[in-house]
């Protein structure tokens, strides 16, 4: 079983629309939405949830004010400023280390499970899907990404699927690293803007750091031909193949409004280019 992750560095370059298109082109795949912070793939794939699993991220301190003797040891020892001088917990800042519980002389603090969100196993019109919802303001999205990938792997093994297609998060930090570690191929969706090029260089630094094979697709390549050439040159210099050039097309938004993938919605040039890119990826992955 193989795995591909679609990422971008910069947000909003078209990761999810490309992933959704791949979902409708694949024949034997499991889909995984690993952008757990702002998951959107389900808006197109309309999954029917079969199983819901509670997710507990880091633990959280719980302070019993009745027992507390106001010695302030927890306040002075917390490195995250998660307890204020009046010994109130600042929930958003607690990283669950357990130092406050340890230093409390009267056992007034307990580390407890925190309900951080849910992961789901679902069925879509293109096959099974693993996805999740992280509660807003929660930490540990990297841990939830790992959880979604574990679920996807389990389904792939059970149902004899040969590929997992992962929709990744933006950025280069913890959730991204969790979404790409150990995959066979990373597809980076970029666009010909200076911001996206800057972010592409940083995300390629990450895939190189972790030694993960990467390929690039330039979305809306026709909005600035000079910058498109810059990306091509950069990729050539760094021995990275550009596997797709996708034209700017309003059908992307139109398809989204209709809750359809671009492939389902239109038979135009964009769909042809997506299919062409998909075939190249299959070849690269020996599928």
């Amino acid at each position: 079983m193989k795995q591909i992750t679609v990422i971008s560095g910069k947000g909003g370059t078209g990761k999810t629309s490309v992933t959704a298109a791949f979902a409708s082109l694949s024949t034997n795949a499991v889909l995984a939405d690993c952008d757990v912070d702002a998951a959107d793939l389900h808006l197109i794939l309309k999954p029917k949830i079969k199983k819901t699993i509670g997710f507990h991220g880091l633990k959280i301190a719980s302070i019993d004010k009745e027992t507390c003797i106001d010695c302030k040891k927890c306040y002075t020892n917390c490195r995250f400023d998660a307890i204020d001088e009046d010994i109130n917990l600042i929930k958003e800042s607690c990283e669950g280390c357990g130092v406050c519980e340890y230093v409390c002389p009267v056992d007034a603090i307990k580390m407890v499970d925190r309900d951080s969100g849910f992961s789901y196993i679902s069925e879509t019109r293109f096959g099974p899907m693993a996805h999740a919802k992280l509660n807003t303001s929660e930490e540990a999205s990297g841990k939830l990404v790992t959880e979604v990938r574990e679920q996807a792997k389990k389904i792939a093994e059970e149902k004899n699927k040969d590929l997992i297609i992962i929709d990744g998060p933006p950025g280069i930090g913890c959730p991204v690293i969790s979404a790409i570690s150990g995959v066979d191929l990373v597809l980076i969706v970029t666009e010909p803007t200076l911001s996206a090029i800057h972010d592409l260089e940083r995300i390629l630094g990450v895939t190189e750091h972790f030694n993960i094979p990467s390929i690039v697709c330039i979305n809306k390549f026709d909005i600035n031909s000079e910058n498109t050439q810059k990306i091509k040159d950069y990729c050539k210099d760094n021995d990275i193949s550009v596997v797709g050039l996708l034209p700017y097309d309003t059908v992307v938004t139109d398809a989204m409004v209709q809750e359809k993938t671009v492939i389902e919605y239109s038979k135009g040039v964009l769909s042809d280019n997506l299919l062409n890119m998909w075939n190249k990826i299959k070849k690269k992955m020996d599928l």
């Binding site: 947000g11 020892n77 995250f80 130092v99 998060p169 950025g171 913890c174 911001s195 940083r202 909005i223």
Partner: protein
């Protein structure tokens, strides 16, 4: 006044709004808190005149004192320490610098060293006092870099914070200290879905907020309907325009080229001042 610009969904135009607002106002402080992918300086082009390393603490084990009792690794909730028969292994990239291992060590064998996780940089351009942070490639500790940036906030000025996308810890860290939050969205199903998540966050944080609809004219009208039914102020609509998109692609803040927009951003600031008074 501290104004944060956030979005939920990436690529809706946070940096576009934030940089144009700062350049229209002048005499502002601008802090790019998207330390994973900072883009604001593509538009400001500020010459960097100061650079500072951001470090976090990591444990250093004194092999002379350590008797391999294993208490440190049992305590560490992040699995950053492992004790094998005659050695303690430290995994610095997993360490959250809580100092718990040092507290539980019965032999006082743990001291503290420093590890670099990113840099913050400063520059001045067109009256804008500019900072951004850069998380090292391959690194996961975004929060210490954002915290280092927040220490630079100059409350005597109007401060604009450009937030990272999403709804989790780095966003809370940025938006949490602002007096007002601008949520930038686009009129598409993805934009609406992620706007709702972002609204949940700012409501939890009890920060007054308003919405800017970018690329108005594409997609559908559901974002507008949502804002109307939730009584959320729509501060500004920026139409879908190839001219604006092209200027963006070249790294140009569009209000610098299109004069009428310079006034729009000045008005935006006054509107926000009025909103806060409410």
């Amino acid at each position: 006044m501290i104004i944060s610009v956030a979005s939920g969904k990436g690529g809706t135009g946070k940096t576009t709004i934030a940089t144009n607002l700062a350049l229209s106002l002048k005499q502002t402080q601008f802090i790019d808190c998207d330390v994973e992918e900072p883009n604001a300086n593509i538009f400001f082009k500020a010459k960097i005149d100061e650079r500072k390393d951001v470090t976090v603490e990591i444990p250093i084990i004194d092999d002379e004192k350590c008797d391999y009792c294993g208490k440190c690794s049992q305590f560490c909730t992040y699995n950053a320490l492992a004790v094998v028969p005659s050695k303690v292994l430290v995994f610095p990239e997993l360490c959250h610098s809580c100092r718990g291992c040092g507290l539980v060590c019965p032999k006082s064998a743990i001291s503290w060293g420093k590890r670099s996780v990113g840099t913050i940089e400063h520059g001045v351009v067109d009256g804008v006092d500019f900072y951004h942070g850069l998380l090292h490639v391959g690194e996961i500790q975004t929060i210490p870099v954002i915290k280092a940036l927040k220490k630079k906030i100059d409350k005597t000025k109007n401060v604009i914070l450009d937030a990272p996308p999403g709804t989790s810890c780095p966003v809370i860290e940025t938006v949490g200290i602002s007096d007002y939050c601008i949520l930038v969205t686009e009129p598409t199903p993805f934009g609406l879905h992620d706007l709702k998540l972002a609204v949940e966050v700012v409501k939890q944080l009890k920060i007054p907020f308003g919405v800017i609809i970018n690329r108005d004219g594409v997609g559908d009208k559901k974002v507008e309907h949502f804002c109307q039914s939730e009584k959320i102020t729509i501060l500004l609509k920026i139409p879908h325009s190839t001219e604006i998109a092209h200027l963006y692609s070249k790294g140009i803040a569009f209000a610098c080229e299109l004069k009428e927009w310079d006034d729009e951003f000045k008005n935006l600031f006054h509107k926000i001042q009025e909103e806060i008074k409410k």
